[in-house]
């Protein structure tokens, strides 16, 4: 604020800013509804609302790994975040590196799914999808990539059914839910989850979104909108923004029993890292996870703090454990420009070095 009368300066600056915001709002109105999840794929297995997709291999890239990669995403948001748009797609980048990719879509759970819990998702559905992918690819084992809550499911599955997984990758996955910087855990401590689930049934996605927004209300409810309106001429940026907005708020309801078990046993009682979690009467011992493990976490993750993920190192049974730290946040790890090269390259290299069947096939060839 230099020189002129402060009131005049404020009025002028405000006026200029509002003009820009108005232009931004007009430009945004022209954007429409951009396409999402455009990589070609085919449904190869269905069970209840769960669908397993296989992505069409990249035309010009020979298959480098024989073992398929099954991606297990969270139920909190939709899995098309893995293939948001052609130039922001972890799946496309993996296909370009010769990886055979399968993706589990949990669908939109409704009232009929309210009684489904960890046993259904982490054991039955995930197990059946692994079987289906393996059968489709003609192999005995798969590589499993678990993302966020899907990473927690993958760890549980790998601990209980290790014979079906050749290599395990966890991405922004909570393992220790009681790290001091975990605000979501602090907030959930005093909430009567049993009463919540008994009353709500499935936990509405909109309610979960409200909680996520409340983690950083000034940034998430105000600044990000102001920021996008501030660059009204950049149509690509506006389209990206609209895609992200759709993904963020396209939140399925969370199956009630799964939510009850997840919050009570995993978040409040921290049973996964303590080794006291039981699914279908079987104890989930992460010491049984002896296949190679790659753990990818984001340094500035406000939902799953790095320490929550890094805790895996001290409880996992494998001798082949690798960590990869990404300089970004929980969302940036999928869609940022840096992530587009860093993450798929890291995954492809790590898998290539461990894909025994792939190696065997190449030797045979």
């Amino acid at each position: 604020m230099t020189g002129s009368n402060p009131q005049e300066f404020l009025a002028r600056s405000m006026s200029e800013w509002l003009n820009r915001l108005e232009q931004g709002a007009r430009a945004l109105a022209d954007v429409g509804d951009p396409e999402i999840g455009t990589a070609p794929k085919t449904a190869i297995y269905r069970e209840d609302k769960v669908v397993l997709y296989r992505y069409e291999p990249h035309e010009n890239v020979p298959a480098r790994l024989r073992t398929p990669l099954v991606i297990c995403y969270a139920l909190v948001n939709r899995p098309y975040m893995m293939d948001l748009q052609p130039d922001r797609s972890l799946i496309r980048r993996l296909l370009e590196r010769g990886i055979d990719v399968y993706l589990i879509d949990w669908g939109y759970p409704d009232g009929a799914d309210r009684l489904r819990g960890l046993e259904d998702y982490a054991l039955r559905y995930l197990g059946n999808c692994i079987d289906a992918a393996a059968a489709h690819a003609g192999v005995s084992k798969v590589n499993l990539l678990g993302v966020c809550q899907g990473g927690t499911f993958s760890l549980c599955h790998a601990a209980l059914r290790p014979e079906r997984i050749r290599n395990l990758i966890t991405m922004v996955t909570p393992v220790d839910f009681r790290t001091p910087d975990n605000l979501l855990t602090k907030w959930s401590d005093g909430i009567d989850i049993d009463a919540l689930v008994d009353t709500m049934g499935n936990v509405p996605g909109s309610m979960l979104n409200a909680v996520f927004l409340a983690l950083m209300p000034y940034r998430l409810m105000s600044q990000k909108y102001v920021a996008i309106f501030d660059q009204p001429t950049d149509r690509a940026a506006l389209e990206n923004f609209v895609r992200m907005e759709k993904w963020i708020f396209d939140s399925p309801d969370h199956p009630g029993e799964l939510y009850r078990e997840f919050i009570n046993r995993l978040v409040k009682e921290n049973r996964l890292v303590n080794g006291t979690l039981e699914i279908a009467g079987e104890r989930v011992d992460l010491g049984n996870v002896r296949m190679p493990v790659l753990n990818i976490y984001a340094q500035r993750d406000h939902l799953v703090p790095p320490d929550a993920s890094r805790a895996l190192a001290r409880v996992v049974g494998t001798r082949d454990y690798t960590e990869h730290s990404f300089n970004g946040g929980h969302i940036g790890i999928y869609v940022s420009a840096a992530a587009q090269t860093q993450i798929p390259t890291c995954i492809a290299k790590w898998l290539s070095a461990r894909d025994e069947e792939g190696r065997a096939r190449r030797r045979g060839a």
Binding site: M1, T2, L10, S13, M14, E16, W17, G111, A112, R114, L115, L183, K186, W187, S188, D189, G190, I191, D192, A195, L196, D198, T199, M200, G201, A214, L215, M216, P217, Y218, R219, S222, Q223, V226, D230
Partner: protein
């Protein structure tokens, strides 16, 4: 007769504050009580006459019955007013609801209490948020003063806004991580759940009255369906295991039989060989 109208209301409004002594005001009481009885008789007559009138006016009704709704309306007017006074007096208190509608009334009382509790906690959270906004402005003010002292003036409104966001997040984080806020927010969430539970209870009562399906019923159906699916999976698993065992048993028997046959053949071959030699 009109001069005695609303006799019951008058009685309610001017009810004696203490017990009457034997004989005191007895005659007066008999008078107004008789007046009230007369009034009710009059209303009955009017209702019957009105009912008959409405029957005449209503096309196609030949039953000749009086209009019961009108009758009840007229008869019930005094009682309704009394009941309303009673409810108004009783609702804020913790007195036990009585009578035919007690469950219904209890459900509404529970809802009102839950709503009141929710509003109280909501106001507390809002007060905390106001404190955060105030703190954010204080922080912003200090920051701008510092920048001014360092000769780093703000370039425009957007920069001021971004700084305000930064200060807001800092102020909010301080509160959001505090034990008191975490507890308050959890209490608010629990209170919201209680409000919803009470609303559901009332809604379920209404749905049952209309013989419409309720969430509780659907939950029962889902539970039964789930149990059936588990049983089916168990039976399938048993059947698969039995079939596998049967196949294994058949294969074993076949192997035995084949071994036996091979043994016999070998013996016969040996015999033939012996005879030849």
């Amino acid at each position: 007769m009109r001069r005695y109208s609303n006799g019951l209301n008058l009685a309610v409004q001017h009810r004696p504050t203490g017990p009457l002594a034997m004989g005191q005001g007895q005659e007066t009481n008999e008078n107004w009580a008789q007046a009230w009885i007369d009034e009710q008789r009059e209303k009955l007559k009017q209702a019957q006459a009105g009912g008959a009138g409405s029957q005449e006016g209503a096309a196609g009704t030949e039953s000749g019955n009086p209009d019961l709704s009108l009758l009840m309306q007229q008869l019930g007017d005094d009682w309704r007013k009394l009941y309303e006074r009673f409810v108004r007096a009783g609702l804020p208190s913790k007195g036990v609801p009585l009578g035919w509608g007690r469950e219904y009334e209890q459900a509404w009382r529970d809802l009102l209490a839950a709503q009141a509790e929710y509003r109280k906690l909501e106001a507390e959270v809002l007060a905390k948020m106001m404190a955060v906004h105030t703190d954010a402005l204080d922080r912003l003010e200090r920051l701008i003063k510092t920048r001014s002292q360092e000769n780093r003036p703000l370039a425009n409104m957007r920069e001021l806004y971004d700084l305000w966001v930064e200060c807001g997040e800092q102020a909010y984080a301080g509160m959001a991580h505090s034990e008191g806020y975490c507890r308050l927010q959890a209490e608010l969430a629990n209170a919201a759940v209680r409000v919803r539970a009470k609303q559901q209870a009332i809604l379920e009562q209404l749905l049952r009255q209309f013989d419409l399906p309720t969430r509780s019923e659907l939950n029962s159906v889902h539970r039964e369906l789930r149990a059936l699916r588990e049983q089916l999976a168990q039976l399938k698993g048993d059947a698969t295991a039995a079939a596998t065992a049967r196949r294994a048993s058949v294969a074993k028997a076949a192997r035995r039989s084949a071994a036996k046959d091979a043994g016999k053949k070998a013996q016969e071959k040996a015999k033939k060989k012996g005879r030849r030699s």
